[in-house]
């Protein structure tokens, strides 16, 4: 019995320590961004890596998400004889929910894992220690540009996702299933409010922060050897995805 209580206590302490370490990691990196934004070329390289290189995977997932929304939405709306509302159904679900979440999940899989692996390998090959030995702050060179780059790239990817998805839904709904093209866009423009677009952008910015934060943190505290990096990469992707989905629920309930 007392062993169980001991284990529970140890688990709680470990969790608390981990959470505290994550929070101080975030606060310190935000402080570093504010003090030393870093050279623009470092941030540029991150925007290129996180954003521009994710363009095609985002384009592909967005067009198929929009197309399947068009298909499913048509199937449901046709039961009520209101196929004309397809545009607003596709646009609202993309802008409010699917665009920010799916683009963030894709970026986590494509760029987040690479961020963790990069920082983790620098950690285990003692490159981070070398930076510290030269009195250079590793946050300034490794962490801040990544967080900055993700804050710029992820909302832009989300906007691209939304627009591509809307046109994907257009192709299926209007070209294949024969919805009136005027109705598709008119109903869409009528039902989408500035509030919807705004909440999508806010979500996406916060997801960008979550991705960069969790992935940098996991890499920075990777275990020993190749196995440590592989474990860190896996747990970074899983944790970032889970945190994104949980945070999405709470943010939606606040912003709604």
């Amino acid at each position: 019995m007392s062993i169980l209580v001991d284990k529970l206590g140890a688990l709680t302490l470990r969790l608390l320590r981990e959470m505290g370490r994550m929070l101080t990691f975030l606060l310190y990196s935000i402080y570093m961004i504010a003090r030393h934004p870093g050279k623009p070329v470092h941030v540029l390289r991150q925007v290129h890596f996180i954003g521009a290189k994710s363009f095609f995977v985002i384009f592909l997932t967005a067009s198929f998400t929009g197309m399947v929304l068009g298909l499913q939405g048509y199937y449901t709306l046709a039961k009520f004889g209101s196929e004309g509302l397809l545009g607003s159904a596709v646009a609202l679900s993309l802008i409010r929910e699917l665009g920010p979440v799916l683009s963030a999940l894709m970026v986590t899989g494509r760029a987040g894992s690479a961020i963790t692996a990069e920082i983790g390998i620098k950690k285990i090959t003692e490159q981070i220690d070398a930076l510290e030995a030269m009195a250079l702050d590793p946050f300034k060179y490794l962490v801040s540009p990544k967080i900055f780059g993700a804050l710029i790239a992820v909302p832009l990817l989300c906007a691209i996702f939304d627009v591509v998805g809307i046109y994907g839904g257009y192709i299926v709904g209007v070209k294949l299933l024969g919805v009136n093209p005027g109705a598709y866009f008119h109903e869409m423009e009528k039902s989408v409010e500035w509030k919807d677009v705004y909440s999508g952008i806010v979500k996406s910015i916060s997801f960008g922060l979550i991705i960069a934060w969790v992935c940098c943190y996991k890499g920075y505290y990777a275990g020993h050897g190749a196995e440590g990096v592989s474990r860190a990469t896996t747990s970074a992707v899983v944790m970032a995805s889970v945190v994104i989905l949980i945070w999405d629920y709470f943010l939606t309930s606040v912003l709604l």
């Binding site: 925007v47 802008i95 989408v192 500035w194």
Partner: protein, 149 residues
């Protein structure tokens, strides 16, 4: 050379992203960057049940403006609806404003029936003739309970 290509790629990416963002917020979100292409008129209604801010204002089925806001006049206890009308559209002072429903369960909107007067409504003009929203439930209950006059 390599650095230039990096900058070009990022530039193209950011440009595409910003165009998409602008499309979403201006075309779909109806964010008004430059205001002042509208003027405001108001009308008093007995009931505007179901009418929302941002509902469209139409003449002959063509959208000419939007409902800016809805308030209650404390003295007469009638609803005051402020309409923001596109600048190019001239309204005479005997125009009739009615609250209508699109379809049976659709959105409420306002339709304006032009009059024949020579005087035009200016900014903050008052529409005198109004028709209130038809309350379908009330009509149905009157019909069911047989109180049709």
């Amino acid at each position: 050379m390599k650095k230039a290509s990096l900058e070009t790629v990022v530039g193209i990416f950011v440009l595409i992203g910003i165009i998409c963002l602008a499309y979403l917020s201006i075309k779909l979100g109806k964010m008004e960057i430059v205001g002042g292409h509208h003027y405001e008129v108001r009308g008093e209604f007995d009931s505007v049940a179901g009418l929302q801010d941002g509902a469209s204002v139409e003449i002959a089925g063509v959208e000419v403006g939007r409902v800016d806001r809805i308030a209650l006049d404390p003295k007469s206890e009638r609803a005051v609806v402020y309409l923001s009308i596109n600048d190019g559209v001239k309204l005479t002072d005997d125009v009739i404003a009615s609250v209508r429903t699109r379809g049976i369960i659709g959105d409420k909107y306002i339709t304006l029936a032009p009059g024949g007067s020579d005087k035009l409504l200016g900014n903050n003009g008052l529409i005198r003739d109004t028709e209130s929203a038809v309350d379908l439930e009330e009509l149905l209950s009157k019909y069911i309970h047989g109180k049709v006059d």
